[in-house]
Assembly symmetry: C2
Homo-oligomer: 149 residues x 2
DNA sequence: ACTATATAGTTCGGTATCAAACCAAAGGAG
DNA sequence: CTCCTTTGGTTTGATACCGAACTATATAGT
């Protein structure tokens, strides 16, 4: 039976764990969110609140590392819920501006309030020190993957 | 503007990085796989080769931490490709046995050969020591999430 | 034995995601 | 100015995934 080298095996295990954690944590998070918000939708709302500036669908897609098509879909759902609006960019006929609506701001606050406690529970699983230790390595990995796709 | 506590913020960042890595690495991996195999499908084949014993859909779902419905769907696609077969369990009228076919074994070998090198490239992003350091913490997190869902 | 509960598996409706193909507008090279 | 390439956005088709509802079988409690 063919197998992977130990190095490859370790990487495979790592990515496997990461995939499962991603799944479980998204599902967990989503169950907390009000208004039928999904993680992807909440992330966009949160992003718009936290980071000032003009955000186009393309910039958002790049920020979240998803394809333009995926972002189109997520934005359409947010528009349908009245949480954002898409406006034409006067200086570029192709582009659009993504704008948070009043309702979008409110929904984001509510989601934050609902999800924060659930996030806190995770401290039982991992100490703050462990969390801080994990982040830089994962960022390195994420950046490498982004650069080499 | 409402924000998260620093602790919550760190956890949020962590889960965010994990989500993006999961996405990017699955997409990368999948592009390498032959026969239109997906990561989910390959994982099942690989699992059946590496771990002896009888595997039912329910056991596989638990092992991969997905719902039974998700596993049903993945297994149906593998059956359609002729890579596994589902057989009734003589001792339990509800259960089934998942069996790898010849073609399944071959496909798994081919996938391994195709994907191994791509996995190796990741060593450029993270040293073996970093990888080994990451795994235990992530496992702790995964196990906690599994237990508390 | 009968009933209630738990477990195995499927199906359904919805969202996210990708890749690929497409259109329209912008920018650069001649 | 015209052609070519790049960029912004949408659409389509496929897969994975969840949660919830459902059927059928098994097991436990009384």
């Amino acid at each position: 039976m063919k197998t992977l080298t130990p190095k490859q095996q370790a990487l495979f295990t790592l990515l496997n764990e990461i995939g499962i954690i991603s799944q479980l944590s998204s599902a967990r998070f989503e169950r907390m969110l009000p208004h039928g918000l999904t993680v992807a939708q909440f992330s966009v709302l949160n992003h718009l609140v936290r980071l000032e500036g003009d955000w186009s669908p393309a910039r958002l897609a790049a920020a979240f590392q998803v394809t333009k098509g995926t972002m189109t879909s997520t934005l359409q759902r947010l528009v349908a819920k009245g949480l954002i609006s898409l406006e034409p960019d006067p200086s570029d006929g192709r582009a659009k501006h993504v704008k948070l609506t009043e309702a979008g701001g409110v929904a984001r606050e509510a989601a934050l309030a609902a999800a924060g406690p659930s996030l806190g529970e995770l401290n039982a699983a991992l100490s703050p020190a462990e969390i801080d230790a994990l982040i830089p390595s994962l960022q390195k990995l994420r950046i490498w993957l982004d650069k080499h796709r």
